[in-house]
């Protein structure tokens, strides 16, 4: 007679062991390590909620303090490697295996640890891909999550940064796993129930509020004329050209400049209402002027952004908010929206090769993917048409029955030809390939594969890769916008001019734009303070962005 309930029994045993350190479900911060040592087993799959933004930092410190004699060889399955503690557990041996998505701030250290063999790496995923595996072969036995508040029954309010939490809890709780939540405070009644209490096994009242990184705040004061020029070209040469209404923006300065040009340059071009109306996007402070000017119909968010809470509360027509009035974000749903319901992804990258493959990996930094590859890919499962999608499809169609043509998602790379320290963005060979060789990765960490990319925009022009008919044309189109990088200077000038004549390459002057017009006075806001004014005082920027 097989035992069909062994997982349930194991879960009950863990719960029982943990109760020694709890009063009901509530655990004090000082007991976190005792609790974790009681409920964890060597080799467990553990999701320590490290999101793109919010961090279960109290639980992370508790896990890092566990005795490696008792708790070791954990398999961490979490989307973000953000805090030092996320890697400390691999130094001490508490954890051994890792499957993750994003490691922005820890990118340099994770690279070092990968080279040094401290981490047995499964794979670097996209968000949706990792979430999907939570339900197939990477289901956590224990999830350590973060919320703003909980009641004594465990009903959890995540606050505006809901992010990954519902997905993590869904996979863990409903497959016999244990869920431990850290909260900033225990309350009589939560403002809204984001996770019902019967899915939360223990609640830890954290010693300090959980940490949130202001990842999506771009200070307009730092925007350069080059970024403004690129933004002007993108608006006129892509947004207007394809009538892009449903879209996702990356987090770089280039896309932030586009957001700030909509109410000025976009308005002057008469584009209001015809582009950029429906968004899958975090609440970027730089989108405030476009929202206030009536450009934006609605925005669904992956997470929130520090300082935007009051503003979002007062704009429920635009944002998704709960009955309590605060933002409800959801990374899994928003990624799905970005993948299937947006006609364009536009974002930056660190390296692009001669075919258009791109990567944010350099030899000393492994930043991971996050969600860009989900949004920056052409979803073959899409079955609904839109004018934008169909126009891109027609441009890409080389042969075959027109009646069977399907559309294409616009995947646009917005880059300056040189990055920080005069490092060329365009390269013959991606550093990602070197990294894969050195660390024995089966798959090179490519952010967006060439066959998904439709346009590359630089200060030199727009390359429309949909219109390229063979590999040589594609290479020359890329070289033709690569500026004074070695790749750019290696162009065949005759072929590049021929591509320009066909409209495959378009220079600023081909679009009626003079580089001399790219002036900071075009920005709807030139400082964080301007954004505060646009918001009517509702946006409350974090201290590090203030100069008042």
């Amino acid at each position: 007679m097989p035992d069909w309930r062994s997982e349930r029994a194991a879960r009950d045993a863990r719960l029982e062991a943990g109760r020694a350190f709890a009063e009901g479900k509530v655990v004090v911060a000082e007991s976190v390590t005792d609790l974790l040592e009681a409920v964890l087993r060597p080799g467990d799959r553990v999701c320590l909620e490290g999101d793109n933004q919010k961090q279960a930092d109290c639980l992370a410190r508790g896990l890092a303090a566990c005795d490696p004699e008792r708790i070791h060889d954990l398999h961490m399955v979490q989307s973000g490697i953000v805090l030092p503690e996320h890697l400390d557990v691999f130094e001490t041996g508490v954890a051994r295996r890792l499957d993750y998505s994003y490691s922005g701030p820890q990118g340099a250290r994770i690279a070092k640890m990968l080279y040094g063999g401290k981490i047995a790496l499964g794979a670097v995923h996209t968000y949706l891909e990792l979430f999907a595996r939570y339900f197939v072969d990477l289901t956590p036995q224990v999830a350590l999550i973060a919320g703003v508040s909980a009641d004594r029954d465990g009903n959890l309010y995540t606050g505006p940064n809901t992010e990954d939490t519902p997905t993590v809890v869904e996979a863990t709780h409903f497959k016999n796993g244990l869920v431990i939540a850290q909260v900033n405070e225990i309350v009589e009644r939560v403002p809204r129930v984001d996770i019902p209490g019967d899915r939360i096994d223990f609640v830890v009242e954290a010693d300090t509020p959980f940490y949130v990184e202001p990842l999506f705040t771009r200070d307009p004061a730092a925007m350069t004329e080059t970024q403004i020029l690129i933004a002007m070209m993108a608006i006129k040469g892509i947004y207007a050209e394809y009538g892009v209404k449903r879209l996702n923006h990356g987090i770089g300065f280039g896309t932030a400049a586009i957001e700030l040009l909509l109410p000025t340059y976009g308005e002057r071009l008469g584009l209001k209402g015809t582009i950029a109306t429906h968004w899958a996007l975090n609440p970027h402070p730089t989108l405030i002027p476009a929202i206030e000017s009536g450009w934006v119909k609605q925005v669904h968010c992956f997470g929130s952004e520090v300082g935007m809470d009051r503003y979002i509360r007062e704009r429920p027509d635009v944002f998704f908010t709960g009955s309590d009035g605060s933002l409800r974000s959801n990374r899994a749903f928003c990624q799905t929206a970005g993948l299937y319901a947006c006609d364009m992804f536009i974002g930056a990258t660190l390296q692009i090769d001669l075919m258009g493959h791109s990567s944010t990996v350099t030899q000393s930094r492994v930043a991971g993917f996050g969600g860009a590859p989900n949004m920056g890919s052409d979803p073959h499962g899409r079955r609904h048409p839109s004018d934008t999608w169909m126009k891109a499809g027609r441009e890409a169609q080389m042969s075959g029955d027109p009646a069977l043509m399907r559309g294409r998602k616009l995947v646009v790379q917005l880059v300056e030809t040189f990055g920080d320290g005069l490092v060329p963005t365009f390269v013959e060979r991606l550093d990602a390939m070197e990294l894969a060789t050195k660390t024995g990765l089966e798959l090179a960490p490519v952010m967006i594969y060439a066959d998904d990319v439709t346009h590359i925009v630089t200060e030199e022009g727009i390359a429309n890769l949909l219109l390229c008919r063979d590999a040589d044309e594609r290479e020359q189109a890329i070289r033709g916008v690569a500026g004074y990088t070695p790749v750019g200077r290696g162009r065949d000038r005759v072929k590049v001019e021929a591509l320009r004549a066909r409209g495959v390459i378009r220079r600023p002057e081909d679009l009626g734009i003079s580089p001399l017009d790219a002036d900071r006075s075009l920005l709807a806001a030139r400082s964080i303070k301007d954004l505060v004014h646009w918001s009517g005082g509702l946006y409350e920027p974090p201290a590090k962005f203030r100069n008042w």
């Binding site: 080059t226 030809t417 040189f418 005069l422 500026g483 004074y484 580089p515 001399l516």
Partner: protein, 102 residues
């Protein structure tokens, strides 16, 4: 620091009568461009003092493209560079020429 000088022969003098103009600020990733109408109308000289060594071939290409585009006959152009990217250099040069044409 590296000093570079490029001399070009130009078909025609730059329009305008302004004797000198300056644009830009020397800062990290930025540069200043001083333009003076002191050379024969068929000559242009660009002298660069740059904080970053080893980009002589890039400067040569940037200056050649600028000269072909702007036809800055008669100008001596002097640059103090704090490590600007080529696109910023091109932009400042064009901004400078616009001031001289005014």
């Amino acid at each position: 620091m590296e000093s570079l000088t490029f001399r070009h022969t130009i078909q025609k003098p730059l329009p305008g009568t302004k004797r000198a103009a300056i644009t830009g600020v020397v800062a990290s990733g930025n540069l200043e461009v001083l333009l003076e109408r002191v050379l024969p109308p068929d000559a242009c000289e660009v002298a660069v003092e740059t904080a970053i060594n080893g980009y002589g071939d890039v400067w040569e290409a940037v200056v050649a493209d600028f000269v072909a585009r702007a036809q800055p006959g008669g100008l001596r152009i002097s640059i103090n560079d704090g490590g600007a990217r080529p696109d910023t250099v091109s932009l400042r040069l064009l901004q400078g020429v616009r001031l001289m044409e005014a």
